[in-house]
């Protein structure tokens, strides 16, 4: 708990909100004592604002400023009453739902959901219809109508906390549901509940005032802010708006203070939630004109990537020749994915990149190269096939876009091309797959689809970032085979990023070993053994990597059946 207190941060919203609410509260206490008689004096009627009556007078000749101030007490008391009913009733209902057996809980939550789907005001009007118009019935009406929503929020919070281990432990130890609720659940919900209660106060104020405003709340001779607004409607429609100013301003200020307090509490309790300021994009330093260092397809020289001035990739250099498969290995955090993303020009926008050379054929990847050229030369295969496809679009819809956009194909031709590509990567039922959503396909299917997309665009370089990591072993073998198929059929080079030493050794021609953003060594794949590696780190990495002896051939065949 002490750690929590340390995290507490006062913020401007919270301070302003508390200050405003304190002023309103003082008005609520003091104004009726000082002005309640003066507010009932009837002087000149319907006076415009003047030195004597700062906000003018109403149709009965009351001073509107005094009446607005005096009304503060009744309004706040009613709001507090209604909010208390909503909050306490909501917490009681929300927590006790969680004490029910699973089946009853389901039914209860559905019932609450159904009620929440109706406008709260309708519920309040039903209660008001039963109890009749009046101040206290308005409090009950607004209070009751707020219960379902607050109960739903409490139930959501309870659901999260009920899954915590200490609650389960308490249950196992035979602590009754009531005690569990009061001892364990409520204290842990206190913070979010307080935030929700503040916003409930704001909405109760609005709703109570609304009922008085339409004439269903406080009745004459009593008056709250809503009632004052109600009395001002006739004059508003006849062109005299000033009667509204006092109560309207007070409602807005009070509601705003409650919202500021709610947001402020939330921010104070969880300072991390605030969005971090993005670093200013630094302009790239002028690059020295370096002649192409080799005739390799992909040339990377002194690639550096930094975040907020801190370098993460520290001068990486390597080449990928035409038709070659180059592996990049290293533990997580070694910078291998950032290197891949630099090549693909897909670095997050808040990272800065510099390089002496970063070129694919004759495309300079340091500058914003023409989209068409890049797409025609390079394809990506990403790590997690579960998230690389847009969940809201059908496979065909997404995969054909690159073809219609950059390859000048009509929709029909693009679909035909993708269908052929699906067949080439041995996708079952290609027509149906194109009509399906990503979630209807298995991980292996989705990764095949990504490879099919690469096949359709006939790139010179394929950047595969952990393309098989998220898949199980049998599917991995399939995907690797398709990747090699691409390599051989298109003569495409492959940059294969992986932490799986065994796969890299089998698949690649050469291997780049990375550690802490630097290249440790570049060696032939066959030399990627403890005995033959030259660099100390490579040997350690190899020694630390347990390897399964996988017979790729049989694995693949079993799966193919």
């Amino acid at each position: 708990m002490s750690e929590r207190r340390n995290r507490w941060r006062w913020n401007a919203g919270l301070v302003i909100g508390l200050a405003l609410l304190s002023v309103v509260a003082i008005i609520a206490i003091v104004a009726p004592m000082l002005f309640s008689d003066a507010a009932n004096i009837m002087g000149d009627r319907s006076q415009r604002p003047s030195g004597e009556h700062l906000l003018g007078t109403d149709a009965a000749g009351h001073d509107l400023l005094l009446r607005s101030l005096v009304a503060t007490r009744l309004t706040l008391l009613m709001t507090v009453g209604a909010a208390a009913i909503s909050v306490l009733g909501g917490i009681a209902l929300g927590v006790s739902v969680w004490g029910l057996p699973a089946r009853g809980r389901e039914v209860a939550l559905r019932a609450i959901d159904a009620i929440v789907a109706f406008p709260g005001l309708l519920l309040a009007l039903v209660v008001a219809a039963i109890l009749g118009a009046g101040g206290s019935s308005a409090v009950v009406a607004i209070g009751l109508s707020g219960i379902p929503y607050f109960a739903r929020l409490t139930a959501n919070l309870s659901a999260k906390i009920a899954q915590q281990e200490y609650v389960a432990t308490a249950r196992l130890m035979g602590v009754g549901p009531f005690t569990v609720s009061v001892r364990h659940m409520l204290p842990n919900m206190a913070e979010p509940l307080l935030v929700l209660a503040a916003s409930n106060f704001a909405s109760s104020l609005t709703a109570i005032s609304a009922l008085s405003f339409v004439g269903l709340g406080v009745q004459s001779p009593q008056y709250d802010w809503g009632k004052l607004l109600n009395e001002a409607i006739p004059s508003l429609l006849s062109g005299k708006a000033y009667e509204m100013v006092g109560p309207a301003a007070l409602i807005i200020v009070t509601g705003l203070s409650a919202i500021l307090i709610g947001d402020g509490l939330a921010a104070a309790a969880n300072p991390n939630a605030r969005s971090r300021r993005a670093p200013k994009a630094t302009s790239h330093a002028p690059l020295p004109a370096v002649a192409p260092s080799s005739d390799a397809l992909l040339r990377v020289r002194n690639l550096r990537v930094s975040f907020q001035g801190k370098e993460i990739v520290k001068g990486v250099s390597f080449d990928v020749a035409r038709g070659e498969i180059v592996g990049i290995v290293g533990e997580s955090g070694s910078g291998k994915t950032l290197t891949a993303m630099s090549v693909a020009q897909l670095l997050p926008e808040n990272l800065q990149l510099t390089a002496d050379e970063l070129a694919l054929g004759d495309i300079d990847l340091r500058s914003r190269a023409a989209d068409r050229d890049v797409v025609h030369s390079m394809s990506m295969i990403y790590q997690d096939p579960g998230s690389t496809f847009n969940p809201s679009l059908k496979m065909g819809q997404q995969l054909t876009q690159v073809l219609t956009q950059h390859f000048g194909m009509a929709a029909g031709a693009a679909k035909k091309t993708m269908r052929e590509a699906f067949e080439k990567v041995r996708m079952t039922e290609p027509d149906r797959r194109l009509r399906q959503y990503p979630y209807e396909l298995s991980g292996g299917m989705r990764q095949r689809a990504m490879i099919a997309s690469a096949l359709a665009t006939r790139p010179k370089l394929i950047v595969a970032d952990e393309a098989t990591t998220a898949l199980d072993v049998t599917v991995q073998a399939d995907i690797l085979r398709e990747l090699v198929g691409l390599n051989r059929e298109l003569g495409a080079s492959v940059m294969f990023i992986s932490h799986d030493i065994g796969v890299v050794r089998e698949l690649c021609d050469r291997v780049v070993v990375m550690y802490h953003g630097e290249v440790m060594e570049v060696l032939a794949a066959d030399d990627l053994t403890v005995e033959r590696a030259t660099h100390d780190y490579t040997r350690k990495l190899l020694a630390a990597t347990p390897e399964l002896a996988i017979d790729w051939e049989t694995v693949g065949e079993e799966h193919a059946r």
């Binding site: 005001l121 993005a278 020749a321 693909a344 998230s387 969940p391 956009q405 089998e506």
Partner: protein, 353 residues
């Protein structure tokens, strides 16, 4: 460069066997097999359940009046004879279940009773009032979505990955402020600003049951929509920020799809689910908001109707209007879910949070 190890482990490429075409089905057969059939069936059942729940609520309004309903309805200066006559004529002397059966039977034959105040059938009163509220709520709902969604997208794109913190702060402050101003106060502000300030918009509504000129709807619709616009725009902006961080947006960038396609074709469908789910509450809330806004502009709709009826203790009218307004809210809910189902078929399975 070749890779000998792999060539050896690879089995020879297999020829693809064309899968059997699925049997052709009629349109009806396809519909039954689609998730829509069970979705619509489920929603139809829940709509019927809601209607019955509303029937019970409407029925209970009279039963739950504290004390003797007959006395309360007849008023404080009624004689005992008058009260008893009223009790018999309203059927309040019958057993509860008979009263309920009578009430439900009446509703299903279109007989919602007769207004105590006006002596008119309740159905007639509702008929004359529905168009005003329907027009107001529908226009406000459409307007708020049409404005809020693009606004949220633009701000979401502009503030992605923590960019333009000044815009982030300004947008948050302005929408937060407007959102915290109750609709009825916003309405009065609008009347002051545009009603007689500029004088172009008619603010005095026409007599009851006359057709309202379109211009008279402008201020009420804006007053009703402006709060929800801010709420929905904030939701869209937040969701846009989240969606833009997703892996599939990187895929679209990898394919070098142009910005318009990425944001509208790629990101937008993913916003719709969460936006519509959250806006569902906001939009049904607007049915409630319309009740209050009608009072400001003296629009003779369902809202002014139910408030008048509560003040008059005109119970048959109250009961009828509770049913109608409740069903309007339920239909808005259904509409949101249908749009949701079209935008994202995954939600058809139910249990979407």
């Amino acid at each position: 460069m070749t890779s000998p190890p792999i060539t050896q482990i690879l089995p020879p490429p297999q020829t693809t066997v064309a899968p059997a075409e699925p049997p052709r089905r009629s349109a009806w057969g396809r519909f039954i097999a689609s998730p829509w059939a069970s979705f619509l069936l489920r929603r139809a059942i829940s709509l019927v359940a809601m209607f019955f729940a509303l029937l019970i609520v409407a029925f209970l309004i009279v039963q739950l009046i504290p004390g003797d309903p007959a006395v309360a309805i007849a008023g404080s200066n009624a004689t005992t004879v008058e009260i008893e006559a009223l009790r018999t004529s309203l059927g309040l002397d019958l057993p509860l279940w008979q009263q309920f059966v009578g009430f439900v039977g009446g509703v299903f034959t279109g007989d919602l009773g007769t207004s105590f105040m006006y002596g008119q059938p309740v159905a007639t009163i509702i008929q004359s009032r529905v168009p005003f509220t329907l027009a107001l709520a529908a226009a406000a709902i459409v307007l708020s979505l049409v404005i809020a969604v693009p606004l949220g997208i633009v701000v979401g794109v502009a503030t992605r990955a923590g960019k333009r913190s000044w815009l982030d702060a300004t947008f948050g402050a302005v929408t937060g402020f407007i959102d915290s101003v109750p609709g009825y106060i916003m309405a009065t502000v609008l009347v002051v600003l545009f009603g007689y300030g500029v004088g172009v918009l008619e603010i005095v509504p026409p007599a009851f049951s006359a057709r309202m000129p379109v211009a008279s709807y402008v201020l009420p619709v804006v007053a009703l929509a402006i709060g929800p616009v801010c709420t929905v725009a904030r939701v869209v902006r937040r969701e846009m920020n989240v969606v833009l961080e997703q892996d599939y947006m990187r895929t679209a960038r990898g394919w070098r799809l142009p910005a318009a396609r990425r944001y509208l074709g790629w990101a937008l469908p993913n916003l719709l689910t969460s936006t519509l789910t959250l806006s569902g509450l906001v939009l049904t809330g607007m049915v409630g908001g319309a009740i209050i806004i009608e009072t400001v502009f003296a629009i003779p709709g369902l809202g002014t109707g139910i408030i008048r009826a509560i003040l008059d203790r005109d119970y048959p009218v109250i009961q009828g209007l509770v049913l109608v307004i409740g069903m309007m809210a339920a239909l808005v809910n259904l509409l949101v879910d249908v749009i949701l189902g079209i935008a994202d078929p995954r939600t058809l399975g139910g249990h979407h949070e």
